[in-house]
Every structure is written in C-alpha cells, then in structure tokens.
C-alpha cells in the first residue's frame, strides 16, 4: 500500500466524509480511512442533525438520506424531583421543506453519507486504524496504519479522528484533555410503535420532538439529558462533564436509569423495548480548548478540533462545515503546490471567520462558569419549580402577595446580592 494520494482523511464521520466528498468532487485523489466495520460503527450522537450545513454539501439530501423525523418542536425542561417547568417552541414551518433539523440514527446516516464520498471518487477503506502520522522534516507526509505494510503517503493528512484524537495529540497540537473539557454521555435507543410515539408526543408521522432536560436529570450536576423521537424508536440519554461524574462519583448507567424512572420521564418511555445502549465522549471544552488546527501537511476537523457548541447541541453540523472549509483550503494548496502550514492556514482563517468559531467564542466562558458555580443546576432549577408551584396553586392568597413571597423565598435563601451576582455571571457567560 505504498501509494501516494493527494489527501488522506482519517475517520469517516461527518467531518471526514464532508472533507473527502468535497476534495473528491474537485478532482483530488482521496483516501478515506475508517477504523470501524463501517462508517458510523464507532459513532454516537444524541441524534439531531441540522439541515443547513448538510444541504450545502448535498442539496435536498432529505429526499434520499436515511433520516428519522424532521423536528417540529423543541422542548426544554427545568426538572425537579416531582415537577417540571417547561418551555419550548413548536412550528409547522419546520414540518415542510427545507426543514430545520432532523433526528437521525448515525450508524445508518454515516454509511449513506460516506457512500456519497465514494460515489464522488474517494477510496474508502474500513477496518483500518491509523496508528500514527508519518513526519519527515517537520512535515506530515502520510500515515501508518495497522495493516501489514500499511504506510500510505499524501500531500495532506486530514485528522477527523474524533474526540479521542490520538493523532493530533501525537503531533503536539494539544495536550491530553482535562476531565472538565469532555462530557461523558450515555444513551439508549428504545423501540416503540409509531402510533404510540405520535400519541404521546402529540405529532404526526413525519414530525419529531426533542426535549432537553436540565436539573434533576443530572442530579443537579453540570450536564443535560435528552429525549428525541425517531420514526419507531426514542433516543434517551444523559451526560455530565467527566469532572462532574468523578466529583459526584456518578455511575453513568445508574444516572440513565434514574432518568428513565423519573416520574416526569417514565410515562413517555414506558412500554418501550431497549434496543441499544451506547456511551461516548463529547468535546465540550469550547473556544479555549480548540487545538492547533493547521500544520505542515496536516489539518484537524470536527470533534478532533473540539468543534462542539454544547449550549446549542450543535456538533455534527460544525463537523461537516469544518470538513468543507478544510477541503477548500486543501484544494487551494494543491493549486499552489504548497502544503506548508502557512499555506494550509487559510483553513484556520476560514474556520475562525465562520459561525463555528464565532459561536464558540460567544460561549467561551459558559461551561467553565457553570462548572465553577454549580448553583444554576442544583439551586435555581428547584427554586424555579417551587416558585411556579406556589404561583399556580390557588389557596386564597392574593397574587401580589404570592409574588412577594416568591421573591422573598428566593432572595431570602441566598441573599439578594448573591442572586444578582449569579444572574450577572450567567448573563456574562452567554451574552
């Protein structure tokens, strides 16, 4: 296998495939290497795929891609032990083309997407681990795989090897991530008949619902839970930062069982049958954790570059967009015949000029603020629930007095100054 390619892409997830597809379409000779039995075999996500960045790669993909349901309603739950404060948005404009986002099952979607790259001319090799980057004179010139005689060469190597990017760490682009820079998430796929899902979630066949759950879903730890509707199954999952998991000595599967048995959640999933249990890390370090993304003969995309916006549960769309931007930089580099870091830095510039890094910068302090001040999850969510309960319980108390009591109970418990500080801090973290 001592062939030379224009581009070697490591990892056939959304970032790698997007990059391989774009390069192949522009006539480059692309090798796409996947360590799983097939693309998607090693991948997990909650299941929401946004339309926009995918559409830029494959127009009207929803007509042929294996998708579950277009999401027409997004709910948010602030959950306490036996109650929930909820808000959300449901819009029928999302039920028609071009849609906003979809629930998807990755093992199917990734295979379909990778096939598009193959159709465009990329060579996909499954069941192959890239063990290291080959570096000569300070430039990445190829990769070593775990196949016999498995060295392959290329002008550019694209690292799309996911949250556990051992390769970018090998190159010194980042140190080992800290437990507060990653979230450990576990989920289950629960099979359920279509009609039952439609009834319970108040939707029709081709309409989906997502619910993000804060508060007691993580026992007050920094993290969220989610419940998404597929065609004939539900995805239910929960995750916290690995540091919270360690600090609170949580077992992730017990947290998931706690969620599944929560009185606010149980009625939605009861009667379903567990079909799969999955665990994965999510890179949630944000802006400050983004490693070096371009070097001599190499670029880093997707989860490997920590491109996840945890606040807006965006990730696969960022992965796809970063893959596309990387491909464009590689194509230009090919035209110049220059694969040095300064040439490939056009990817870095494009990435930092895009919505991806603008959004990550906007929330650069969010995770760390909420990690350092856990009261948002374990104090304010229960307080909010108590306040709503008080406000809506009719017991002869005039509403004005109730308002006063609610404000007094919040400020009385924590002190007015501390409440104002907390509000200001949270606003600063997400402004």
């Amino acid at each position: 296998m001592s062939e030379k390619f224009d581009v070697i892409v490591v990892g056939a997830g959304p970032a790698g495939t997007s990059c391989a597809l774009t390069c192949a379409r522009n006539g480059l000779n692309v090798l796409l290497i996947e360590r799983g039995e097939y693309p998607g075999a090693k991948n997990v996500m909650g299941g929401v795929l946004y339309r926009k960045q995918m559409e830029e790669l494959i127009p009207e993909f929803w007509k042929e891609a294996p998708l579950e349901r277009p999401v027409i309603e997004q709910r948010f739950w602030m959950m306490d032990k036996e109650s929930v404060v909820q808000f959300g948005y449901k819009g029928l404009e999302w039920a028609v083309e071009p849609y906003n986002n979809f629930t998807v099952l990755r093992a199917q979607f990734d295979q379909w997407f990778a096939k598009k790259a193959v159709d465009a001319g990329a060579l996909l090799i499954n069941e192959t681990v890239v063990t290291e980057c080959l570096v000569e004179n300070g430039k990445v010139v190829g990769v070593r795989t775990d196949r016999p005689d498995g060295e392959v060469y290329a002008d550019v190597v694209v690292l799309a090897d996911g949250v556990n990017s051992l390769l970018s760490k090998q190159l010194g682009f980042h140190k080992e991530y800290r437990p507060d820079e990653v979230a450990l998430t576990v989920m289950e796929v629960i099979n359920m008949p279509k009609d039952k899902i439609n009834d319970r979630f108040n939707v029709e066949d081709n309409q989906g619902v997502t619910i993000e759950i804060f508060g007691d879903s993580t026992k007050g730890n920094l993290g969220t839970a989610f419940l998404y509707t597929n065609k004939e199954s539900l995805n239910i999952g929960v995750g916290t930062t690995l540091s919270s998991m360690i600090k609170a000595k949580l077992k992730p599967y017990e947290l998931l069982d706690y969620l599944k048995n929560h009185p606010m959640v149980k009625p939605l999933i009861s009667g379903g049958e567990s079909a799969e249990y999955l665990a994965h890390l999510i890179p949630e370090g944000g802006f400050r954790s983004v490693p070096k993304v371009a070097g001599n003969g190499v670029v880093v995309v997707g989860d490997a570059a920590q491109l996840v916006n945890a606040i807006h549960r965006e990730g696969s769309n960022m992965a796809m967009h970063s893959g596309k931007l990387a491909a464009e930089a590689v194509i230009q580099a090919k035209q110049r015949g220059d694969f040095s870091e300064s040439s490939l830095n056009s990817y870095r510039e494009a990435l930092y000029g895009s919505f991806i890094m603008k959004d990550l910068e906007k929330y650069k302090d969010a995770t760390h603020t909420f990690e350092k001040y856990p009261q948002y999850f374990n104090d304010y969510v229960p307080m909010m629930n108590k306040a709503m309960s008080k406000f809506f319980t009719v017991d002869g108390t005039p509403k004005r007095d109730k308002q006063k009591q609610i404000i007094k109970s919040v400020t009385g418990e924590k002190g007015t100054l501390r409440v104002l500080q907390d509000i200001y801090r949270a606003w600063k973290a997400v402004k």
């Binding site: 099952l105 192959t128 990653v182 989920m187 998991m245 799969e276 999955l278």
Partner: protein, 94 residues
C-alpha cells in the same frame, strides 16, 4: 418498561473482540496505594474496570471506546489505544 441492568444492556451490543486488550493498566501498585477511590470503576460506562483486591481487572471486551478512562484516571495510569481495525464495539443504531 423493564429496566435492564448494565449486564443486560451490554448484551444488546455487538462486539467483535480482539484477542489482545487495547487497554492496559500500567502499574497496579498505583491503583493499590495511591487511588483509594478507584475512579475508573465508578465512571466507566461499561464497568470495564473491576478492582479485585490487589489488581485492576480490565474487561476490555465490553469497552465502548469512549476514552473516559484515559482522561479520567487521576494518575494517567491507563494506556489507551484503539482496538485493531474492524474490532471492538460495533454500534448498529444511534
């Protein structure tokens, strides 16, 4: 719905096991003497790690390859590699 315990959940999965572990505890003495909490036995989502009095047992066959143990071990005492190509866990759905 019937709640499955972790062992039953693991049975829902497909694994294509290698004969060689991709996870290695570098120094069992560190687990014994420095790490009273044995955190990997707590947060590992597949209970790959089990403390057996003097040694850390590593049931790599059920590993989800999430990477938590590599990042979460307070002593960087776990050598973490990817299983051989095509081996390890095979997710079928999400």
């Amino acid at each position: 719905m019937s709640t499955k315990n972790l062992e039953e959940k693991q049975y829902l999965l497909r694994f294509k096991c290698d004969t060689k572990s991709h996870l290695t505890v570098l120094d069992h003495d560190i687990c014994m003497t420095k790490c009273p909490d044995k955190l990997c036995t707590v947060f590992c989502p597949a209970e790959v790690y089990k403390w057996e009095g003097t040694r850390m047992q590593v049931g790599y066959e059920g590993c989800h390859e999430c990477g938590s143990c590599r990042i979460g071990c307070p002593y960087q005492n776990i050598k973490w590699e990817y299983p051989k190509g095509g081996h390890g866990i095979v997710f079928r759905l999400a």
